[in-house]
């Protein structure tokens, strides 16, 4: 039986390697046919900001890779509402991530679920395995 795997992302991109490492582990883990979710909490929400351009800092811009998650059947991406608000951000500042539902003629559906801290606590509580980055 598939286990519920949650990847918890709490670090911003580029300053440390955590965000990129998490993304790589998610993509590798997607091959194992588990029930995968991602949570972006605190500064982790910055991983998904639009318009990242890393040319001048000489690092790889890995932000476009998030849009491929849907193709890997990673379709549940939880964003903590309070974390966005503390940072003066709204969902419009983040990438629009979608997946195609093959059971409904490949209808495009939103992957991002904006949840309150209390709601996210319940989602975390429901997981079998938590991987923290």
């Amino acid at each position: 039986m598939a286990k519920k795997f949650m990847y918890v992302n709490r670090k911003p991109p580029y300053g440390t390697i955590y965000a990129l490492e998490s993304l790589e582990v998610v993509l590798i883990g997607a091959a194992f046919d588990q029930d995968v979710s991602l949570a972006f909490i605190g500064d982790g929400v910055y991983q998904l900001t639009k318009g990242q351009d890393t040319k001048a800092i000489g690092q790889k811009n890995f932000s476009p890779v998030y849009s491929a998650l849907g193709d890997y059947e990673v379709t549940k991406i939880y964003i903590e509402k309070e974390s966005l608000e503390e940072r003066g951000l709204t969902l419009d500042d983040l990438q629009h991530l979608v997946w195609e539902d093959e059971d409904e003629d490949y209808a495009e559906k939103d992957s991002i679920r904006l949840v309150s801290r209390a709601e996210l606590a319940d989602v975390l509580d429901d997981q079998d395995v938590l991987l923290s980055f």
């Binding site: 911003p12 990242q52 351009d53 800092i57 940072r87």
Partner: protein
């Protein structure tokens, strides 16, 4: 003695920026670099801390802001500098304190 302070950590993760502002005197400059640049975005929960730090000049390193997709979301009054501007700031100030 005008000091240049650099802060490279997010204000939402550590109290580094708060410590820096607490010890920075009027006429000094705080340059936000790396994850420190997130402090410079408009309407965030630390915006008042920067706004109320009177007499301190706040700058942000442009390449780090661009990498993080926040260059268009900076608060008013924050100056953007490039790497050459960073060097200029170092030469224009008497000393540099890096808040690691």
């Amino acid at each position: 003695m005008a000091m240049l302070h650099t802060v490279n950590e997010s204000p939402f993760e550590t109290k580094t920026l708060e410590s820096c502002i607490g010890l920075a005197k009027s006429g000094s400059t705080v340059l936000l670099i790396e994850d420190g640049v997130y402090a410079a975005t408009a309407n965030n929960s630390v915006a008042d801390m920067i706004k109320n730090a009177s007499g301190i000049n706040f700058c942000v390193l442009g390449p780090d802001a661009q990498a993080r997709g926040i260059e268009g979301k900076l608060a008013d009054g924050i100056k953007v500098v490039d790497y050459a501007g960073f060097v200029d700031l170092v030469t224009e100030h008497d000393s540099v304190q890096a808040w690691l």
